[in-house]
């Protein structure tokens, strides 16, 4: 046993419901989170922040959004890229139209814009289920991308259709635009991610999460015991798109700096779906683990051969990436459909008992 949990009995339902019921877990988690905010900002190299940690946090938020829709509520969606695009373009419009607006508020507003779009495209979900719904979400994906391409108003009539994040500050610190330091952007990204992770966690373990999972597991029985299908599904679409929208806004403002619609195409939708599958459907932690994993694979493929002294042409690297992603999806679906999150849970349980077998 790494630590003793004997003697810890829950004396109230409140303590049983807590996110970290074991006291030591709670302290460790809080410490780790505090470290996660401070350490990389203080010590991390620009490369690590810029190319790994910041995109990881952004993808994790998007994966969280998709996980809510697909993992918890069981509504398969291939339209994540489209909703992120709504967030990105909305953020651009809000930021350029209202230069005095705090950028965090801009993010929230773009999330809301994406939520509205998500609700609209979620309405058919009452009649359409399963793969059919997946195809219907493709409609939203392709349509939204086309819309942002065609209607020049969205990119403020820029000649190439590119949107560029204007410079904005929070508490006097430059967080977006060309002069924003990676550290500042990192702190914003992790702050946003942690806040929404907590809110999401509260949602999924309470009344709303149960309604979602009931619809996912057996929607007819759910209706018979009193779950309202349309309301529940729409809530899932709305919240999911909200998070994806914020992720999309961050994608442009904190990571890419400037983007075209291509950045939000169908490949992004698949990428986020992979994160959710590999990380674990129906798990908040899984969204983060999946995002981390997916972000690391290309990095690994780029650097490992180098470390071993082999030369890997860029094209081959891309091909291996595709193969690894595909192969991993198959691997996880066969071996552990609940993904990395479940593997983590099993490891923790084993560690609690170690060195005893049971």
């Amino acid at each position: 046993m790494i630590y003793r949990e004997a003697g810890q009995f829950k004396s109230s339902y409140a303590s049983d419901q807590a996110i970290f019921p074991i006291v030591q877990d709670r302290w460790v988690a809080l410490a780790l989170l505090a470290a996660a905010v401070v350490v990389p900002a203080a010590l991390g190299s620009d490369y690590w922040l810029q190319a790994i940690l910041i995109p990881f946090l952004i993808y994790a938020l998007a994966a969280l959004g998709l996980n809510i829709l697909t993992g918890y509520a069981g509504q398969l969606s291939l339209g994540t890229g489209g909703f992120m695009a709504v967030g990105g373009y909305a953020a651009f419009k809000f930021a350029t139209a209202f230069p005095g607006l705090n950028i965090l508020l801009v993010f929230v507003l773009s999330g809301l814009a994406a939520a509205v779009v998500g609700l609209i495209f979620g309405i058919p979900s009452l009649r359409i289920k399963g793969f059919y719904l997946a195809v219907a979400t493709l409609a939203s994906q392709f349509f939204l991308i086309w819309l942002f391409n065609k209607v020049a108003w969205f990119s403020n009539y820029a000649p190439s259709g590119t949107i560029t994040a204007p410079a904005r500050t929070v508490f006097g610190v430059m967080v977006t635009g060309p002069n924003a330091s990676p550290e500042a952007r990192y702190v914003v990204a992790i702050g946003v991610a942690l806040v929404f992770a907590l809110l999401a966690k509260n949602l999924v373990r309470g009344r709303v999460g149960r309604a979602w999972m009931a619809i996912r597991d057996r929607d007819i029985a759910a209706e018979i015991i009193g779950v309202r299908p349309l309301r529940t599904k729409l809530l899932a679409f709305g919240i999911s798109s909200f998070l994806c929208g914020i992720a999309g806004a961050e994608y442009v403002f904190l990571y890419l700096g400037s983007a075209e619609t291509q950045a939000f195409d169908i490949n992004l939708s698949f990428l986020v779906l992979f994160m959710v599958i590999i990380g674990g459907l129906g798990s908040v932690l899984g969204s983060f683990l999946g995002a981390a994993f997916i972000v690391m694979v290309p990095i690994f493929l780029a650097n490992a051969p180098h470390a071993l002294g082999l030369h890997m042409p860029v094209a081959l690297q891309k091909q291996l990436e595709l193969m690894v992603f595909g192969g991993l999806i198959l691997f996880f679906l066969i071996v552990e459909p609940n993904g990395l999150a479940r593997l983590w849970q099993i490891t923790k349980e084993k560690l609690r008992l170690w060195p005893f077998p049971h």
Binding site: F131, Q319, I329, L330
Partner: protein, 312 residues
């Protein structure tokens, strides 16, 4: 306002009536594209009908088949030998998929299998590119890509051959499913894996047969497509379009796949040519999906699909 209504609801039809030969050509172009979608959809339907699995990787299988064929021809093999070798490769692929993907996942809900085929899709894409390279390849099957005029309408030899072949293929498959013993077994498997197993239907063999047949369809599709526009990676993306076709035609209907494909193909082309300019063009990107979406809201099982009766 009125001019907008006129532009949307009147002008395009006037255009169509105004030059019927052009309309015919647009329609033929639509049918040509639609035929491609139909063939990819056909592969989906085969696999779904016989194993209940929605094979997202069908498009990539087309690409893979085409790549293999072209690759072998480029290596110097005569066309006939290359074709046989490709068939062998696709059958081997079917064996592989059965062993690695289907067998371990036999009891899982359909959504899991669907996601597995998404994984398969990406794996094959990377794998195919790794083996055969990423450049566009020309596929020559000995039929000239010549156009000629008939009754004032521009037709194309290659297209016609392709259409004819496709028709024959579909007819053969339809008969196969309806009339033969194996066809019946396939339908039983699609309905309920475990029940089929329990009455002695050899699941493994069935699956290999089905995925091989789908592989053959993929080869045929790949040839037709490759001969027309060269073998390239946009094939797999275009194959995504087969999904709306399936929506329209139903997932389990061979005639549905054909009709659905033709509707989507012609609908797209018509939409693009006559309504496209109103909104800046490129509506082909999403038209098919929107059509499918609207369709789904009113008729969730598609044109020919079976009505899903949910029991408690």
């Amino acid at each position: 306002m009125l001019s907008l209504l006129h532009a949307v609801f009147v002008a395009p039809f006037l255009d169509m009536a105004g030059s019927p030969t052009f309309l015919a050509e647009v329609l033929i172009g639509g049918i040509a594209a639609g035929r491609m979608y139909s063939l990819v959809a056909l592969g989906f339907v085969l696999i779904f009908k016989a194993s209940g699995v929605f094979n997202f990787a069908q498009g990539v299988m087309v690409l893979f088949a085409a790549l293999t064929l072209v690759g072998l021809i480029e290596k110097g093999l005569p066309v006939a030998v290359a074709l046989l070798a490709t068939v062998a490769v696709m059958v081997a692929l079917a064996f592989g998929i059965e062993r690695v993907v289907l067998r371990p996942l036999v009891n899982q809900p359909p959504i899991i299998l669907f996601m597995a085929t998404i994984g398969l899709n990406f794996f094959l894409e990377g794998f195919g590119e790794m083996i055969w390279g990423a450049n566009v390849k020309k596929l020559d099957v000995g039929i000239p890509d010549e156009s000629f005029k008939m009754a004032g309408i521009l037709l194309n030899k290659l297209e016609l051959t392709a259409a004819g072949t496709a028709a024959v293929l579909v007819a053969v498959l339809a008969v196969f499913f309806q009339r033969t013993r194996i066809g019946r077994a396939l339908r039983a498997v699609a309905d309920d894996h475990e029940a089929a197993l329990s009455i002695g239907i050899p699941l493994k063999t069935i699956w290999v047969v089905v995925w091989s047949v789908a592989g053959l369809v993929a080869i045929a599709t790949g040839i037709m497509w490759g001969a027309k526009s060269g073998v390239q990676f946009s094939l797999s993306l275009i194959a995504l379009k087969a999904l709306p076709v399936l929506i329209l035609g139903g997932f389990t209907s061979v005639p549905g796949a054909i009709v659905g494909g033709l509707i989507v193909g012609t609908g797209e082309k018509l939409g693009e040519v006559y309504w496209g300019p109103l909104v800046g063009g490129a509506i082909e990107n999403w038209f098919a999906y929107m059509l499918a979406l609207v369709f789904l809201v009113f008729r969730p099982q598609g044109l020919f699909g079976e009505r899903i009766i949910e029991r408690v």
